[in-house]
Amino acid sequence: MELNKLEKTLHDRFFERLTTRISSSFLDIECSTADLIEVSAMLFNEQACAFAGMIIEEEDVSWSLRYMFYNDHGMIQVMIAASHDQTEFPSISAHVHASDWHERAAEDLFGLSFSGHPRLGEFILHEQWPEGTNPMRRGFDARAPFSHWESRPDWEPPRVFDSPGAFSMPIGPIYSGIAESVHFQLETIGEEIVRVIPRLFYKYRAVEKLAQGRSVGEALLLAERFNGTSSFAHAFSFCQAVEKIAEVEIPQRARRLRAFLAELERLRHHVAALQGICSSTGLAVAASQAGILEEEMLRLSGVFAGHRYLFGLATPGGLTRDFTDEECRNVAGTASSIAQRLNKLERLLTRSSSFLDRLERVGIVTKDDALRYGLVGPIARASGSGRDLRTFLPYGGYEELLLSPVQEEEGDGYARLRVLFSEARESSRLLNDIAADLPSGDVCVPVEMRAGWALGWTEAPRGAAFHWVRIDDAGNVAEWRIIPPSFVNWHGFHLAAEGFAFQDFPIILATFGLSAAENDR
């Protein structure tokens, strides 16, 4: 629904209790704490707006809580303000289930409590931290070593499922093989997994806190290095937020080249994700073939951009370097040949019944669940709820590009595999489209920082990546919030694994292709 119509609908229901403002595809709603639940529920459930996340700011005498929603016409911000001594707010998670983990994170990081939330406590900071440790609070010194560490060897994770013969199987954080540190507690009565309780944030590095008071350039280093496997997308998103604050238009050539690099990264990421799926099923030749393609994508990025993971390219105002049109065409050509070899791999895989048996009708996420949890990226698109920010809320260089949406309906591992293959093809096509028609001109304009805040977003390889930035009067980063796609999708991961057998677990995990580094930030 268009934002002005939405504004009218809201006023019809809430009359003068809401203050609303619209400016260039941004609807700002100020409401009272009492109306918060009803307004959010209406946006999420009746108006089918997606929930982007929750942004909390501590000020000297007050709190401001921004609940970010979006639809295909723009962003919708529901904001409540409260005095600083108020630490309890209503939980919207009963109506907006997607906000569940956001509220848990806020409880840990800010020490706010959300009444009505079923499970607050111990989330980002594990059980060893004393109560009342809230690192995002203003007085907390992030660079000082924290001395109140208490190790509790007798600690046991809470169990949810209680039945005769039931037991709990812990996995991680250290695995066999080469894997990120995540812990799962799998509750089971034998073969079938009944409950999955992921324990994340083993890799919490508090990048949002570390950036406070630092220059934009220093924060950018953190933005591109907190998650190396989709580094460019996050740097891109961060830069867009900064550019909105500074009100600079970046040159047309830089816009196109950013989209070009983002697609190059997406293609590499998807090839790596496919490699992960092949090796999780134990299909050695397929894993090797995909591994060859992955290394070739890394080398292609290395030759083209000087870095195999595209670090150090995005900068506020554009890009740190230019590329010749010929270089871009060569990259697009190589990407096409890699896409062709991916097609061949897909053909071989779809003819291997032993492989398909492990994926088909395994790890199902229904469309309703995907919407309720607000899942994003290829995982959501495999469950029939495709909100691809590149077409949904086009940004950066994507306004002028033609994308054909990828969508599958089944929501199983095979649907996720097909989405990855289709998106990889689409990325290679986009690379060729962009390279064939590159505008000339500069790739960077100077950026003069000013105070303000803005939200930037990109469709990262794993889904929507939001960066909310506030710049202070000195031009430094005052506040920064990252809402990464992995945080959203880990929340829904248990849906896919519950009800399936133990031996399916690693495969379901691989078809989700989530990153702990991106989530843990």
């Binding site: 907390f140 954080p173 250290i174 806190k209 496997t229 299909l283 090797s288 080398r299 000087g306 740190t320």
Partner: protein, 236 residues
């Protein structure tokens, strides 16, 4: 299933000639700044966002433990397209006389908070381009069978206990290898209230492979150093 046999054979052999010969393929390394004599070293060093460059008289030195080869100095000082980056810290040089792992080395890879890029580069060692099995290097699922603890990441507070337990469970003789700038020094994340200053928090580090991330051949060079089958490349 025969289709896979043909698909595998048709792909041929792509494996790197390293360590028998140098690998000159393009895109195998991001390159890194080289120290040496430059004009106005103080000014160049002051532009380094992580403080890895230091001016020494008329030249510049690079602190490998901090450099994340962000391209800030790329236009000002020469960069080298090398990959044999692994080094043995001075403390470890004195301690080590025996080289018990010449023929095979079992590696436990532990992620202590990395961004995913180092881990991805370690993962490439298993793909046909690098294929570390041919050199007798194996990833092992359990610390009980591990000779080497390969650590990535700045050592986050939450991973410390797990890493300490894994290290304690390894039989002696055992080695520790720090892969990546974060594991070498804490990188841009450490040290803080949740991140430490790298792999040396768990035990003495025997080999450091700096880089953000170090390319697969640099990690392979590190493994060869642990096994006593390669030499450090001394920076001039």
């Amino acid at each position: 299933m025969s289709q896979w046999v043909f698909a595998g054979l048709k792909a041929g052999i792509v494996t790197t000639p390293y360590p028998r010969r140098e690998d000159h393929a393009h895109g195998i390394t991001p390159g890194r700044p080289r120290g040496g004599v430059v004009a106005s070293p103080e000014e160049i060093a002051s532009h380094c966002p992580v403080g890895a460059l230091a001016a020494t008289g008329e030249g510049i030195t690079v602190d490998r433990g901090r450099c994340i080869h962000c391209p800030a100095c790329r236009a000002d000082i020469p960069w080298e397209e090398t990959y044999e980056w692994a080094t043995v810290p001075p403390e470890a040089k004195e301690a080590e006389v025996e080289r018990p792992f010449r023929r095979s080395l079992h590696v436990l890879v532990v992620d202590a908070g990395d961004c995913g890029a180092c881990l991805s580069e370690v993962g490439q060692l298993n793909n046909p381009y690098y294929n570390m099995h041919r050199l007798g290097f194996f990833i092992t699922p359990t610390p009980r069978k591990a000779d080497l603890l390969l650590l990535v990441g700045p050592m986050t507070e939450h991973m410390k206990l797990a890493v300490e337990k894994a290290y304690a469970a390894m039989p002696t003789p055992k080695r520790v290898m720090a892969v990546g700038t974060c594991a070498a020094s804490g990188g841009i994340f450490g040290s803080s209230f949740v991140a430490g200053h790298g792999a040396n928090e768990v035990g003495s580090v025997d080999v450091v492979v700096p880089g953000c991330p170090p390319p697969p051949l640099a990690i392979l060079h590190g493994l060869l150093l642990v096994a006593g089958r390669a030499q450090e490349v001394v920076e001039r």
